[in-house]
């Protein structure tokens, strides 16, 4: 299953809810987009939470959103970058998708 988070983890509880429900779900993937990409930053409170699930689920971040926000040099190791085409591939590869709006 693919989970998509598009809200900043610092002003909204969607990332926390997603990780609580899906963080230990082997075979699942999390895609961070829009302000959700801030969760992929090293040494941040949210980044530490994402770091904690990297061994259990695949975590991706949308590169255009990462680059727009200037956080490209501080992305957590283990978070994979995808472009818009990769976003589509992830949706196709997974049987279903939950967008944590």
């Amino acid at each position: 299953m693919l989970h998509i988070v598009n809200k900043s983890p610092f002003e909204n509880t969607t990332l926390a809810s997603c990780l609580r429900v899906a963080g230990k779900g082997g075979g699942s993937a999390l895609l961070l987009i829009e302000d959700g990409v801030y969760a992929a930053t090293k040494n941040s409170v949210a980044g530490n939470a994402v770091h904690g699930v990297l061994g259990d689920i695949q975590v991706y971040a949308l590169w255009p959103d990462v680059e727009a926000r200037g956080i490209q040099d501080r992305v957590l190791e283990g978070v994979k970058m995808v472009d818009y085409g990769g976003f589509v591939d992830l949706v196709v590869e997974h049987s279903n998708v939950q967008s944590w709006l």
Partner: protein, 134 residues
């Protein structure tokens, strides 16, 4: 507007300078708040007021260096913060706790700022005549 008084311009009230603080708390591209707030700050510069900007919570992300927005097809307005000095808006305050929670420090920001503790930020807010939040 005043009634016309035969060219006498300095009516009571003109020349009063108030302390305005704009409080920025949103990340730059996920919502329109940051850009709209910046527009208002630039407009305020035309009124010769004592303007300062405070950056708290996700607002600190507005000032992060190295923003490249071409691929999301949105205007990169971050260079505008560097132009504020030219409008005599030189007082930029950033809350230390917000930076730390996000793994950032002043060196990651694209303009020189004064980093303040939460308490110092609160004290500074108290001294303002007008506080406007975005």
């Amino acid at each position: 507007m005043n009634e016309t008084t035969g060219g006498i311009e300095d009516d009571e009230g003109s020349g009063i300078v108030k302390k305005f603080m704009f409080v920025n708390r949103k990340a730059p591209y996920g919502t329109i708040y940051a850009l709209e707030g910046l527009e208002v700050v630039l407009i305020s510069a035309a009124f010769d007021q004592d303007v300062s900007m405070a950056f708290l919570d996700d607002g600190v992300y507005q000032l992060v260096k190295g923003q490249h927005t071409k691929a999301i097809d949105v205007k990169n307005f971050s260079p505008t913060y560097r132009a504020l000095e030219g409008y005599d808006i030189e007082k930029l305050y950033v809350e230390r706790e917000s930076l730390e929670m996000r793994g950032l420090n002043a060196g990651d920001l694209l303009v020189p700022v004064e980093v303040l503790s939460s308490a110092a930020m609160g004290d500074l807010m108290k001294t303002q005549d007008v506080v406007i939040g975005f």
